[in-house]
Symmetry: C2
Subunit: 224 residues, 2 copies
Amino acid sequence: MANLHILIQSPVFRGLTEEQLGRLFQGLHFQIKKYAKGDVVVSAGEICDRLNIVQHGSVKAEMNDYSGKTIKIEDIEAPNPLATAFLFGKNNRFPVTVVANNEVTIVCIPKPEFVHLLQADRQILNNYLNAISTRTQFLSQKIKFLSFRTIRQKIAHYLLEQAGDRLQTVEVPHTQEQLAEIFGVTRPALARTLGEMSKEGYIDMQRRYIKFLDKEKMNKLLES
Amino acid sequence: MANLHILIQSPVFRGLTEEQLGRLFQGLHFQIKKYAKGDVVVSAGEICDRLNIVQHGSVKAEMNDYSGKTIKIEDIEAPNPLATAFLFGKNNRFPVTVVANNEVTIVCIPKPEFVHLLQADRQILNNYLNAISTRTQFLSQKIKFLSFRTIRQKIAHYLLEQAGDRLQTVEVPHTQEQLAEIFGVTRPALARTLGEMSKEGYIDMQRRYIKFLDKEKMNKLLES
DNA sequence: GGTAAATTGTATCAATTGTTACAAACACGA
DNA sequence: TCGTGTTTGTAACAATTGATACAATTTACC
């Protein structure tokens, strides 16, 4: 059997020993597919009825906008799975087209077989549930963030979150450039708003260190 | 054993027969808890190490903003589960405080026991995976939507999505008020933008019926 | 300590959207 | 048919942010 042990490093099979992995894959019905650079691994709209894991190489996920132009979404390196959110759920079609970046091998496990794996091994089950759940949590957070209208609100939310129980000073672990990226705003707009909030007595700011002056006032920003 | 058959209508146990459900719950270690109106079912920050399903009655999920004021997030009616995304994944703490709206009973299955159920019954496994995956898909869609900056882009995205393969006319199944809500903008702003796009030759609009005049031009709006 | 690169502060103007208000068109039941 | 409530069209002004440019400050490295 080919070099499956690399799969132990994938989020789905992590935590297994080589023996366990070997045993589980014995008698399992699966394929290993090879692709050359530029080959289409899956097309957008195709039914997702199998778990694909990149074994070697890397692939890119692309999307077509409505005019047919393709936009690159992300790169997926070995040994990571493709589109774990579309193997189950209401929408069982790949939302993206996946293209090989170089010589690629893909481990391809049909959905019924994978369900067997989930039932047979608690570690795999936990891994998979954790992976999807973590993603859901991440997306929820992101939406919460995007739903704040003004930059002031985003700043307030971010700082209060960072602060947690600490009452005084927060060291921001990002540059303004990065923060602006996270907030989805331009860097000067962020700096301007920080400046305003400083002048208006919300915070006292020394570069990366931000001190709360009036938490109450700041909380009110988030109430609209 | 109490009236567990109602659980068959919950997303987690749907598709099971009463016999199957009965067999699975025999020997299962679980609790049924009762709460009076106003009781706190779970507090925000509490560790989520069990699956809670509302068996009778309804509960509300609340969140504290940073100033301690509580905001109602949603109501959960029987027979639906609480916080399915936080039983697994990196963050295992409830993000919300759950309070009983009336007399409530909650079926409470410890995580290890629930993992047993997932392994023992393929239907439950599929139900649970489908539930989380569908939610992930929903959130992904929503984020894609929120990531469009201008109202024109949101309109273009929405209309092209609605149109699908149809080339001509779309009937919008919402009022402008509702659409504005979905887009996260004010109603007059939406109407204004629709008017502009009409004048500029993107669309021809008769109330709920919108006709594409220049799909190419519209696609270009989404390319920034 | 000095220099180049990175980071931050600030300013100006245009574009977009929110806010508020009111009129016009439509839908529906009496 | 006539009102009445809902939905849509439109307008004026304020607020917010994007875009762009450049100066000031800090940091890192030699």
